[in-house]
Symmetry: D2
Subunit: 346 residues, 4 copies
């Protein structure tokens, strides 16, 4: 047990935090550009929050990496709770763009040239975050770009993150482990429609109901359904098995044991949406700030951001599942023996 | 002077406002879908606010339509203030998407089929708003689409709005009227650089300074500068004359008489940004709700919204000017005789 | 199944929604006050949303009113989800105050006198909402005030709501039904500390741990603990039994079956917080608008709102429980037989 | 001109910013409390932003401290713009409370005891900010409290700030310098009502119109009007002369030269409102976190925050002026000779 007193300034190490702002334009021989201070502080605030988000995401990956997550422990609650926190922080980061927008283009031009080639693209924490969530090197826009822009230790950090198990990776493993389909005793009483020996009776039945729910113009969706869930043609970081499990969770979230898994999937989508909104507003802000001129990093920021915006959806394979839902009232009824496993003890 | 008492319920006509929610799924023979009430209420809230925005935009157009706006009256202040209000409302409308997102895809599927072919695309108020701001029929994504979706009186309303003077139209006229360049006596003392008989000494000078400010990779911007400001090659709804006036306002906003004009231009950009953010979040929401399935209006909402997102920037010609700013410290010094006209009486 | 087509304008009854704005100042003989339109539209938007909130709260009360809520059905999820929606809407309503604040005091004075004695205090929907959540007549600030301000049918509506079962009432009943303590077989293996024949071994143990956690200056909290949880001295709308159940839920939320109950309690606190934030910002806005002058309703709005702010915390008995938590690591360990009932089937 | 390259990590000094988080509970012999990291990061983010706000407020004070602010320079625009930035930052700080609220009371209890007596009350930057804006030592809640809590150098910093010219101080001087009333030639054509030899004809006239605008229940306001504007009975940090100038600015903001002064006054009120909203949400958050238990600083945080909330309105003398406005249509007409000085050159 600690015995010494803790003091606010020391505890927060404010001597470091508050003495790390040294605008280039304030240095000898330059003309001080008032707004450079804001430019520094807001980027530092972003980096502080990136550190916190990484801390939360790492802890979520750690928990999800276990061979077996016991639904009777608070582990999944903890993961959902921490991802919720990540979402809350991301919303603040989106909001922070309002502050950046109080800097006008002409105010920025006053110090832009002094900063070259420093650039927000050099945030290794942000790239590490993308990697930890599940963005793979091959999916990155401007793959080689960051390696040329960053110093060696930072490239190494990102590369390391890309080779570790990502959140998406462990989510896939966790989905694949979902036990309900393999145990045939769960399904003895299931009323199968559209029997198909090659696939599980549940999925032949569901496919049939899905087909019936399609409007004329949506007919093509059935082919895609088969490709995704049966043939595994579109396997990316999620396998067909994992996608079926995720769809099942979405469909039967009303059963107690599937409630938290559904929240988890939903949080992943929300993280993507907030990051995409951040990129979108960031892109607009950059466009408003420099137009078609060149950012400090040597590219027209807008183009990079727009491309990243379209490509960097990390959980798109989960988002895609929405297209394959049907109305709740038409869901296949689950057999009692399975329901037992989705429920609380009496 | 009124003598009778006013009563809250009657004043707000709540008997109409609160009795206009009749979910299709609540009708005889249907299965009530709880979330349809939300679907109705939120769309009604949007339409109420669209009415208010139109009211403000119309009043702004009316004021700006005058032959002459006296800078010594509060007229321009009023326009800026009302456009600020429009921006504030748009931010609430963006926020409201959070409420829509509390409806899950499966909840939506419960009543989607009953609504066909009603669709948000049929909001004639929103289309009228776009037209009043300055979106022209030819620039619309899916031009013919709305005429086929709407009833005749509503098409007529939008067509009418498209033929009236829009906010962008009257802003162009107002910019073109800016008096400072035509009066040669304002410029007698001006120190001209890079004299060019074909263009005003101020702009030959500014062009020279702009050219000097360009980084290597930005050289091409000079050609575009000439095309936009001198040759008028890119004249859209703003003429080269108006664009020069707008750029001048941005550059010299520090002078008292240009402060409000600058705020006005800035508000137009902010309106575009908020509307674009709204479309962006709306698009993501629709994607999350129906994926690649078909919306009630018979199209995959996301595709329409994405195309509109990219095409419906109404004030893009103003946004573009940012690319042609230079640092404040390198601005050409204005002659005293001109400064006099930009200043308050002693 | 419906066969007719639905049309957006008709579906949303826009002919009613959009034709219900008739500013007093626009009427014959008056001088039009531009901002009165905003005043009407924003109040209508508030009333639309109050209707939606009431719809959600009523549905939550209906579900919670059942004799028995089966944890193995989605009922509790539905309640939590709908209260989440209420919170999301309340956040938009707080944000909407930004729009009202674009009206300046002088703009308001232009039409204030024409509105007397109409006033926001006459919103029967808001008062009904407070009653449905659990605010009792005796706890209201300005009890008799609203009956004198409202017409008879509206008073009757609110009175009716006050006599129905409120959300707080059904939550109390639901908490009182929590089965774990009554069944002695659950507790056979429990390691009791500080045995006290008058109270359940769990609570004698917890009280002892709580006492040990108190800092010197907090000693008095033990007396309050006894009064609230044991002696029932502070019974308000929640009984001591219900409060113990709520505290137990907070403490052991990590067990699966207590997760949703915890979310439910948390949502109630969040509703109170958002409503209080709304009152707070509303109060500031009114103060900024009219200062110490008299509102249209005949009182200085700020005083009423400030008093209501302090008194109208509806779920304060739940909020209070926070004072009686201890660290997770010091929680009494639950016996296996009880844990079985808090868990999923194997 | 600089020649060396700037690198993002170095420019932002991320080696300091990102290595200054050392949770007590992570130290040897303690049990790591996951949420302590958030606790540190969020307080660091607050302190970063406080530094930025102080930077902006100091620059505003510097500009306003000049003997004479030339309305024909961008100085006042700059002040208004920077205070707008302060407001935008404060809104983010309010929003950040959402992040803190993702920490539950039990999570906080896990490390609370290790932090004593460190406390947010020890933020010398926040207290310095209050002082720079204009909060005087005598007006502080818990005057002596902070001197006992802080180390000597920090107390000295705050004391120093309290003895410097505050923003409110320089605003008062600036208002007192408003030239229009002293020059009798401005008023020769003014139509005086209710002549009173002791006061300026404008104010006798305005007082008469104000008296006529009062509702029965507002009669007492006339006495207060006299006390504030004529007798100077309520002189605090603003003198009667300054208050009359501020009221004049509010009333005639439609004239060009008064537009920015009005924006300035409005920004001061908005700063107060945002700081008060921050205190309010902070107070609620603390209450939800520790209830009636004792914070790390040794007091029940809620009580301090509530008292500060009510007392620390810094610009209340300006807020108060709202009570003394009248409708625009009843404003005394200004004489042409004065209007000339409020207008742009022809």
């Amino acid at each position: 047990m600690k015995s010494t007193n803790v003091y606010y300034q020391d505890y927060l190490q404010l001597q470091h935090i508050l003495n790390s702002q040294h605008p280039e334009s304030f240095k000898d021989g330059n003309k001080p550009a008032h707004d450079e201070m804001l430019f520094i502080v807001i980027h530092q605030a972003y980096e502080l929050w990136f550190k916190q988000i990484l801390f939360e995401v790492n802890s979520a990956v750690d928990i999800m990496s276990q061979e077996n997550i016991n639904d009777n422990t608070p582990q999944l609650q903890t993961v959902v709770h921490r991802l919720n926190r990540v979402i809350t922080i991301l919303k603040v980061l989106v909001h922070q763009i309002d502050v950046m927008e109080t800097m006008t283009p002409m105010d920025f031009l006053e110090f832009r040239d002094m900063l070259r080639p420093a650039s927000g693209f050099q945030s290794w924490q942000f790239k590490t975050l993308e990697a930890r969530l599940g963005l793979q090197f091959e999916e990155r826009h401007g793959k080689e770009y960051y390696t040329s822009q960053l110093k060696q230790p930072e490239v190494a950090t990102i590369k390391h993150a890309e080779h570790e198990k990502s959140l998406l990776y462990v989510v896939n493993k966790w989905l694949e482990r979902m036990p309900y389909f393999n145990n045939t005793s769960n399904w003895e009483d299931f009323e199968t429609e559209a029997r198909d020996v090659h696939i599980h009776p549940y999925w032949s039945t569901y496919r049939s109901r899905y087909a019936n729910s399609l409007a004329e113009a949506e007919r093509n969706n059935l082919t895609i359904f088969n490709e995704i869930f049966i043939e595994g043609k579109h396997d990316g970081q999620l396998t067909a098995t994992a996608k079926r499990a995720a769809l099942f969770i979405m469909l039967y979230r009303g059963y107690p044991i599937l409630h938290l898994p559904f929240e988890l999937l939903n949080n992943l989508l929300e993280i993507d949406e907030q990051m995409s909104t951040w990129r979108y507003r960031h892109m607009n802000m950059v466009h408003r700030m420099i137009g078609t001129r060149i950012g400090t990093g040597g590219s027209t920021g807008k183009d990079y951001l727009k491309a990243a915006l379209d490509k960097h959806y990390i959980f798109k394979e989960i988002a895609q599942l929405t297209s394959f839902l049907i109305e709740r009232s038409r869901l296949p009824v689950l057999p009692d023996s399975l329901i037992h496993h989705l429920s609380f003890n009496a």
